[in-house]
Symmetry: C2
Subunit: 459 residues, 2 copies
């Protein structure tokens, strides 16, 4: 079993982030440098199709993605690792001085996006644009996935004209620590009210909420003693978990403890059983001033059923379903070369791989419709087809030229976006397809590039 | 849109890790301290049921979990955050000096585990044991989920008596950066041969592999020029991606480029189309010495079908399905109080919440069967029922007392585990149920605790 190995932390420090890339990106970078082939290039980040039951995706994660792009470094230890892996000194010197000097255009966070529409486009010498593929996909893909899941839940609540609080409880089931905090941010961006994750609150100005666990209740000689001890410390801020032994008994005990002490307590939480039915019983026991908070298995489908069954609650704590987007755990985003400099000009580029075709060239997305979004047009970046253009300049010549909105501003944008999306696009099952037209000019470009490639390759 | 906000990095530093917990853990910790109620307690980490189509779970993530537990700190900035959130100074001083002084028993990584069996048990004053709930679930739950997914793929390959290379390609689709590197480690632990993620290679001694992307091919005037440039730099180490335009043409061009230069190149990669059929065509074109590597949509179901359709490959690069465990994206682990000190003795504890019952008390797991595992017995920690006991001492009085095995040693354990699990338990669809018996004594304890609780609560 080896000799007294110290447990490995395995936590990525900022100095490790340069290495958060696939080996092939580094292999290609070295190749681009050694063959002195570093043409200007444009890469486009998008998804080819919507995840199951999604009618739209809410873009998120741009702020962190841009911070990574600007602050990425290769630390000395990390360069040592690459040295041991056989990368030559000249290449390591290049990485040690790596700096992004290119341009980024992107869709603001909180914007609805559809298949083939770029969430982000990077234009830079190909080595610079290539390196970030893994990190940009990882970050923007995940936050967009979770913001979308959150927006679906917010929308189910919103459609009832209600404003129940939605709080992310999913840190423990998220895929690792980064997912835990980024999911909390993305959930807020998607319309949630806060998170239970303290680190996320500290990093992203997302409000933090918390109650108590069953272990608190079990650790005392009785449920009553546990409630009394908690109210001793937290007074009117107390939210008591009432399902450890029996939910209805717990509700009565909570009321007695609150009453005896002549203190209003904030409320109670239910975490098991038939929640719609129990919530009604508990609501009947407790006075209006006390809130009923519901957790355990909460997602958009649960919420729809809970309301259909006349459940009553002031707030919900979705967990696993939110932070893993369990019914559709990936957005499958891609980051594809769409244009490359040749003969002094940017030329549209594409591959012909079966089922994986990408529209060539840098693009614009034009959105039509005022109160309600009606359709988008995906167009060449150098044409103007009307409507509202979605991509904005974020980085120019390596410098940020965009005022990043606060999470509250992004959250407002998401809510407004939901209000403007047609209802059938927002359906949580079998949504309708939002029309994304391809501009004539883009279509013609794609035809020409494919036809030229086939001729060249003799296919 | 606010005023010139700098993009927020949002990357968790080690000093942030104390905050990677749910608010309610901190609320309870403060409560435990202020009410001077810090009884010795035992918490058990387990899952209640297997994820869809899983007949077993491979335990993983222990080494990182223990490192977190030992090295967790609350940095000054992090304490400032809690101060702003209203936590009192005395509690912040306590956190600043927080140290784990308890015991941990756990199942070694690479062990097969089943519902209700503890992967880990923590015994410590309740405040200390409580704090780690979120982080332990997050880390062990995720790595075990991915090690299991990886083991399923390794097993499909192994059943054919084959040893094709399996390499994690999923960093870009993982849920954040921590998931990217931990999935790479967990995949290796589960029987993979390596990862594409450079950071994971650096942090965890997992071998790193990489080829090239379509962008390399597209960035050159022709596929041939792209292949030639790559072979110029990498010579016989080159693996060429041949599906950018047409796979069969690409294979022929790759062979010509290799032949012209009188250099053996390592092989080619296929990433689209009907991969079983194309792999046969490509195998027919290329000499034996060149490997065929297959990626795109690879998971255990793909592998089964690929082999059934007589696909030929020397290696595979599973991505999204691996790092998100897409068909079952959570293990739903829980961390429950099972015993608490009262009247100077550890008393078994449980809750009665509907559908969420936990066997009370610290436990042992006994495994029976030599060449083939036959059944387990879940027992009280203080009884001896024969068989091989799975949990080992890892931390005692806050000090590590366990020699952590290397990832290679863990990987060997997983492979041996797969060999000893009955075939019907390893089925990738509708597996049989492995028998986990409850010892008479444990069953009687559970009955007694429940009955006492019902009497006490007048239920």
């Amino acid at each position: 079993m080896g000799t007294d190995r110290h447990p490995r932390f395995g936590h990525l420090s900022p100095a490790d982030l340069g290495l958060f890339t696939d080996r092939y990106e580094l292999t290609m970078l070295r190749g681009y440098r050694e063959t002195e082939h570093t043409p200007e290039s444009t890469f486009s980040l998008f998804f080819r199709s919507l995840p199951t039951d999604r009618g739209y995706v809410i873009a998120a994660g741009l702020e962190q993605a841009i911070a990574y792009l600007r602050e990425l470094v290769f630390g000395d230890e990390q360069l040592d690792h690459l040295r041991k892996e056989g990368f030559p000194e000249a290449f390591l010197r290049y990485l040690a001085e790596f700096e992004f000097t290119g341009d980024v255009r992107a869709v603001p966070e909180g914007t609805a996006v559809f298949p083939n529409e770029p969430l982000l486009e990077v234009t830079a010498p190909i080595d610079q644009a290539q390196l970030f593929e893994t990190l940009l996909l990882n970050q923007i893909g995940f936050q967009s996935l979770i913001a979308t899941k959150a927006a679906r839940m917010r929308d189910v609540v919103r459609r009832r004209g209600a404003d129940q609080r939605l709080v992310d409880f999913g840190g423990r089931r998220a895929h690792g620590t980064d997912a835990g905090v980024k999911a909390a941010r993305a959930a807020y961006v998607g319309g949630f009210d806060g998170t239970a994750n303290e680190a996320a609150g500290s990093l992203f100005d997302v409000p933090v909420y918390g109650t108590m666990a069953h272990s608190w209740v079990q650790s005392f000689p009785s449920e009553r003693a546990a409630f009394e001890a908690f109210v001793d410390v937290y007074g009117e801020d107390s939210v008591l978990l009432i399902d450890t032994y029996d939910t209805v008994t717990g509700a009565k005990t909570a009321l007695e403890v609150a009453g005896e002490r002549d203190e209003a307590i904030r409320g109670v939480r239910l975490d098991s059983g038939d929640l719609a039915s129990l919530s009604q019983e508990v609501r009947g026991i407790l006075p209006e001033r006390m809130d009923v908070f519901v957790s355990s298995g909460v997602d958009e489908f649960f919420l729809r059923e809970f309301f259909e069954n006349d459940g009553v609650a002031d707030g919900f704590g979705p967990g696993t379903s939110l932070t893993t987007s369990d019914d559709a755990p990936t957005l499958n985003p891609v980051y594809k070369l769409v244009a490359v400099e040749a003969d002094g000009e940017m030329q549209p580029s594409m591959k012909l791989s079966k089922g994986k075709v990408t529209y060539p060239g840098a693009k614009r997305v034009h959105r039509f419709g005022d109160d309600t979004f009606r359709r988008d047009v995906l167009a060449r970046a150098d044409e103007e087809v009307g409507g509202r253009e979605l991509l904005v300049d974020v980085v120019a010549d390596g410098e940020v030229v965009y005022d990043f909105p606060t999470v509250d501003e992004i959250r407002d944008r998401t809510i407004q976006t939901l209000e403007r999306l047609p209802e059938d696009i927002r359906a949580i099952e079998n949504p309708a397809t939002y029309p994304v037209d391809i501009s004539e000019s883009l279509d013609a470009t794609a035809e020409r590039v494919q036809s030229d490639l086939r001729t060249e390759m003799d296919l």
